[in-house]
């Protein structure tokens, strides 16, 4: 795995989410646009707030959090 040279700015997080049929609920958690009661989960089953969303990795839309421990798992796979 590599980190893509194409990144996104935090100001456009919601625009990117929209491309994936996602939005945020009142508490700023990422949710399915078609069912805002369904929060998007990380592969470890954690809910993700917009602020702590790092991005996407391969998998069925695997959403990743931006904390050190989540990124450490990714870093171990980066070539």
């Amino acid at each position: 795995m590599k980190i893509s040279p194409l990144t996104f700015n935090k100001d456009v997080k919601e625009d990117i989410l929209e491309l994936f049929g996602k939005t945020i609920d009142e508490e700023e958690y990422i949710v399915e646009k078609e069912n805002i009661n369904q929060r998007v989960l990380t592969p470890k089953g954690e809910e993700i707030r917009l602020e702590e969303w790092a991005g996407i990795v391969q998998g069925s839309e695997a959403f990743v959090k931006s904390d050190t421990f989540s990124l450490m798992e990714i870093a171990k796979k980066v070539e």
Binding site: D15, G55, F69, L71, I74
Partner: protein, 270 residues
């Protein structure tokens, strides 16, 4: 570059003139002034999907799918991409791996994970990098002990002190790994009001340090202070310090020494 080719294939029809520029070095999704695709600072090709048609959005989604599913790359915010690279270059290697291996079957998974994260912090700190965010994450994830583990790892305590503690406890007849786990946890949590007696400083130096810390703790009202020592010499050093307070009515001292007199914990209450 495959990414550039993909971008070109998707958007050339509409923004062909941008791709004739050969000095594009960076790509991002960010807010643009008017266009879906803009060249910023002459080098950064920026995509703003909010300014695009449904067709442009489909193309942007196709581009991200290409990155993630075909190239198998991580598609991250600029900040998270940078943070992942920082973590990557500071991941535990060689000696750090040995250290983790030693504790793998001895400590609870949460404690081990906090140590692993703290090793990343230590390595970054050694290189003079900014560690504030990494350290904050560890403290947030493990509010009871994360910050203290970080300080103890940076101070090298897991390389020596806690290994020595294990060896000393292991020699005891009634040793159980649970006792060791609890003792490590107790010590880690006590860090703000703890002094470790070791061989690197003299009795006089520790005596002064204990006095200084006690005065400070009395002033700020934590009502508790701990001394911890490993090895016969350090147990003796600790006992000598405790002796200094036997006439002091403002302090009550409880001391715990193992049967072979190689581990001492003294709790000063005031």
């Amino acid at each position: 570059m495959k990414l550039f080719d993909k971008l070109k294939t998707l958007f050339e029809g509409k923004f062909g003139d941008i791709f004739t520029n050969n000095i594009i070095k960076f790509f991002d999704f960010s807010k643009n002034t008017t266009q879906v695709l803009e060249l910023k600072d002459g080098q950064r090709l920026s995509l703003d999907v909010s300014k695009g048609t449904e067709e442009d959005k489909k193309k942007a989604k196709e581009l991200i799918d290409f990155i993630v599913q075909e190239e198998k790359d991580a598609f991250f915010t600029d900040k998270s991409a940078e943070k992942t690279q920082q973590i990557k270059r500071n991941l535990p290697l060689k000696n750090d791996e040995e250290l983790l291996k030693f504790y793998r079957d001895k400590l609870k998974p949460d404690m081990l994970r906090a140590i692993e994260g703290s090793l990343v912090v230590k390595n970054a700190w050694t290189k003079g990098e900014d560690i504030s965010e990494l350290k904050r994450d560890i403290a947030c994830k493990y509010p009871n002990f994360g910050n203290n583990v970080c300080n103890l790892v940076t101070g090298g305590y897991f390389e020596n002190y806690f290994k020595e503690l294990y060896e000393n406890m292991f020699e005891q007849e009634d040793f159980s790994i649970l006792d060791y786990q609890e003792e490590v946890e107790r010590i880690v949590k006590s860090l703000p009001y703890m002094v470790f007696i070791n061989r690197h400083k003299s009795y006089e130096e520790f005596s002064g340090e204990v006095k200084f810390k006690l005065d400070k703790l009395k002033k700020y009202g934590t009502e508790k202070f701990k001394l911890h020592g490993l090895g016969k010499d350090n147990v003796e050093k600790a006992l000598k310090i405790i002796e200094e307070y036997k006439e002091d009515n403002s302090v009550v001292i409880e001391k715990y020494i193992n049967p072979s007199k190689t581990i001492i914990t003294a709790i000063f209450r005031f």
